[in-house]
Symmetry: D2
Subunit: 359 residues, 4 copies
């Protein structure tokens, strides 16, 4: 199921960076859900390149069409086909790479796996592929909001050495995140990150960072032990995003340094049942949501495409110096925010429908 995600709410994506376009088919979306092209486009616009001086100057409109499954802005319960034509292809930019696998890109591994690879750009391994996820994720989000009032908000939690102070998980919202082009909700940190990104750009270099994400109003009971626990599904979803290297939920790696007596989250009476006083668990226990906010973090490596010359070898093993051309982001973190939200939405939508089957 390489290009399919989910088992009841199922998304299949297709498309290369330089073909006719990219798209997604959503099978299993419940019928009678209000859904418009506009709300899908809105989230796509947050992902597209060329939004600010911090991202690639490539202009791609990323305009989505709904091919099927929706009539009069309501879902029919049949597969929803989504398509985004490729507009800004520039296939020649990559011609000079010819026989050289770019370091820490997928050129070498695609060639090893398939014995062939797209002639231009990253093909299927390009970050462009994530546009289809964002389009599909917007549908999942519409479902989660309609069915449970679930809210999903991600933000830039760090870039390089600059860490954003943890926002209040109950208050942080997309407007606050989008207020600054860095998508870091803390202005002081955002300013430092902006300088860091511009400096890396100047150097022909790139930066990594982390995205934080909270899912609020997730009902208790979602997650499918033992292999599709909430955290397992989220981890798999996040590590399927290009350039990711890590995932942690709740206390994460830092929690490994705590003792159990401090780390355990005591229960307390809350409105609709029990809640916990602390939330080191990150909203999941035994792989199942407990009603508290689900909190997780995703690590993104520095972008592999850099302007600086790199010493490497070509496919035949001959020593070469590679100088990248083309227009790329020095830091993908701001644009990764809607991608993380979308994968979280796809994960939750599937788990929500699976729990419904049980009821």
């Amino acid at each position: 199921m390489s290009s399919t995600f989910g088992s009841v709410f199922r998304v299949t994506t297709f498309g290369e960076s330089h073909g006719q376009g990219i798209g997604a088919v959503i099978d299993g979306c419940p019928p009678r859900l209000p859904l418009s092209t506009a709300e899908i486009q809105q989230q796509l616009d947050r992902r597209r390149p060329g939004q600010s001086h911090l991202t690639t100057p490539r202009k791609e409109s990323d305009t989505v069409s709904i091919l099927s499954g929706v009539e009069n802005d309501v879902t029919l319960g049949t597969p929803i086909g989504l398509f985004i034509p490729n507009s800004d292809q520039y296939p020649k930019d990559y011609g000079h790479l010819g026989n050289i696998p770019r370091p820490s890109h997928a050129d070498y591994t695609y060639q090893q796996k398939y014995g062939i690879r797209a002639s231009s750009g990253g093909g299927r391994s390009s970050a462009r592929e994530t546009a289809a996820r964002v389009a599909a994720g917007a549908v999942a989000e519409a479902l989660l909001k309609s069915a449970h009032g679930i809210e999903i908000v991600a933000w830039v939690a760090s870039v390089g050495d600059y860490e954003t102070p943890s926002p209040d998980p109950l208050e942080i919202n997309r407007a606050a995140v989008d207020a600054l082009p860095v998508r870091c909700p803390d202005p002081a940190t955002a300013a430092a990150i902006e300088q860091d990104i511009l400096a890396a750009k100047e150097d022909g270099d790139s930066l990594g960072g982390t995205i934080g994400c909270v899912c609020r109003h997730v009902p208790a009971g979602l997650g499918e032990p033992v292999f599709e626990k909430m955290e397992a599904v989220l981890a798999g979803a996040m590590l399927s995003i290009p350039a990711t290297k890590g995932f942690e939920i709740g206390s994460g790696f830092a929690g490994t340094r705590m003792r159990g007596s401090r780390h355990n989250d005591p229960f307390v009476k809350k409105n609709s049942g029990l809640g916990t006083i602390t939330n080191y668990s990150g909203g999941v226990q035994g792989g199942i949501s407990n009603g508290e906010p689900i909190l997780f973090k995703v690590a993104f490596k520095p972008v592999a495409t850099i302007g600086k010359p790199q010493d490497t070898v070509d496919f035949d093993g001959n020593q070469v110096t590679l100088e990248a051309r083309g227009r790329h982001d020095p830091c993908v973190l701001p644009r990764a925010v809607p991608i993380v939200e979308s994968m979280a939405a796809l994960a939750l939508a599937d788990l929500a429908l699976r729990q419904r089957a049980r009821g």
Copy 2:
């Protein structure tokens, strides 16, 4: 597919901590693979309780039977049924918990999800469930070794604040890991950890930590973009293990602080093709193995069962003080080593067979 893992090499597990036993069915294991009960038992013995003074004194023999799919120590290509009877059940130990959901356990979430839960112990959420994974993982390992010479070695990379110096990924082996009961291959760190565990035990408290793992001789080309990339499948596999809170591959979270010019792994000519000089990628690029060692780390929270009294509420919201009884590990890390290896083996076996289908 909650209790099924994999799509071509597929494992389905079953069993509660206090029922007749636990087991696994492996569907899709290739025929004519030599396989004996003894090699499955060997890995199970590394997981079972009561191995040293550091783990729970519960004695469980965890003796596995092969119910089907194997004749004369060779696989038939049909489903392999594995069963491990429960021997040391002590259902009464848990009776006093009655109406109190244990903090940071799954009592509350199972009740919310299913509207019912096993009357004794963790039921399906118990760490005992992982014995079935270890049994199945031993079969996956036999396949990987036979087909590709793949070696998988995990070790205790940290407990609490004590971190093991990174071992040489090409040299570390199970004998070195098992030399000390802590399963930390560095004797000085192991000694410190041992003291820390005994101190926590004395306090009725518990500790967390991290497991490091390397998979060697994995051929280039394994991993199924875009949703079942190598790192996505490994992350999902690891976060499905009880008590895990994080996963990172290659440079992981630390790599987010590096610039691309340093983080990129330059290619170099190696024996059978290309390799990389550094391995910040952790053996994967674009979600596909590149032939270098696959390196990852898994975070385990401190054990939720502690001896200290805890203030919490019962299912009805009444304030109570909980005092745990029973016999539990103050630190699961040493026993988690074969579990991490097993889930890695299951992940790789499925990806290896899926790549074979392509060939």
Copy 3:
């Protein structure tokens, strides 16, 4: 997914005819369903050999154990493990076959597919495998009865040239079917069939026939277009039973000779909505149940194991005359009745839960 059936209510079976036993794991059965070993055993008893003078004299008790997923006769929502030990193995009966693939058995094809096969009997291809389906089917039936009041009744609709007059689909029940050992609800036809079976037995020969089946009180709306339509799932389920060669629903092959003006089922007002006057559709339209009884028929070839000598070749292509030994049914139809019911139950249970996920 060769040994797994269903996607939400999922059954995985395992076991060879001459190993330790056969079993099934059901993942996805809803929690809080009353379920006892006795009701599973009841349906198993209808399938086991040695029930009458018409079937094989082999005595197998086929006693089922519930290994997991059920506590105090109620399901926990966790995987239900079922196991039936093999009791009457007689491995030596097959020794003389050695190098001869039995005509119209699976010896040759298993050897071609797996490069190995079980040394005794049919192994995984034995009809014994269906005991696991019947055990699992009894669980599915308990769910369908509890959730929707669904009733599933199959009967012997023909043996050789003798056809049972179509019973009233609203009235036929298991007591009527089981009244005679032939499991044909029409006494006159049953008597003729009984004579035919005894004659075939006397000749060392075998007979085929058809099983009819009705599923009543199936709510409108079950079936998953476009590839898992009700009739597609039922057809796949039935043709997975050993020795089956055909499936038809509603008017079936005979309906191809009718004109549309006669074949169309006009709608009429019924209690809870609309119904149809005729039921040539067999209870499904567009792959979805319409609330009318689901009616289908399954063709079974004559048993491949016969007492008569057969001219064939061995695996090396040498001409041989094969004389079967062992004890086999001259006609499997009476014992096929609960198998067809069980596969129908598994198919409906999965479709019912999938529709629930949509709701």
Copy 4:
């Protein structure tokens, strides 16, 4: 997995009869397979309406585009997106049906299942959906031909009471089938059928019939016991085609009247191993192909759309007389030929790749 077929070679279809168009995504097609739009279009042209005086006069060009996964007429191993825009929509033709569910159509059941349905025509239940299957099937066929030299040929085996004499399964080919518009390879029968179709058309009525199909050069060893046996997968595939009511393989229903001593297929030495003298098995034994031609038959009911007035009720249960308008086929059998071939190709392609994973 309602709109997805297959597990390794996986096809997902989407699209309603009156939306933007219909399409398919093929995930898992091996890389480096030569594939052109032209060879997909060729099979689509055999399915499209308006081919002869026997079919609907609707003109639809059914022009396919490859959206992804192919570069320079070679597959990349990534998902292949296929799209066929809807050209001849005529949404108004259906307006008059408004509140009346057409007898033996899916209007009622879709409304019951989804609580909503497409406002024009059959929506997802329309036979138009099969164009996507034919496009995907052409890709599967290219793979099967390239990998194994497999040939798949279907023909009209009967219409109403007229039965085509069985053609030689080793000789029948598409040119012979397409020689006459009825797609019946026997000229005399074809002439009788043609008259019958024109008479039904004249009467505003419709006819059913059967399609025969042979798959040649299928290697021994394909089929996945126990639930995805060759015949189970084929039966499910065929019964997922609109208007189908039955499936039989080899001797089928007629074989139930034979005794085992006649029905068994004796083995004989053939070129590359063993073959059988007779082929009552239809090329499969124990659910696995044995190297002989795979032979099966599919029953299609008479078309539900007829010109004659029909007495029925509307959704509210009020008695009405329905008079259909629009332009429809009096008999779908000629156009069903490529659909049956396509579903057979999809089934075999998936089973072929799954067997490859085992090797």
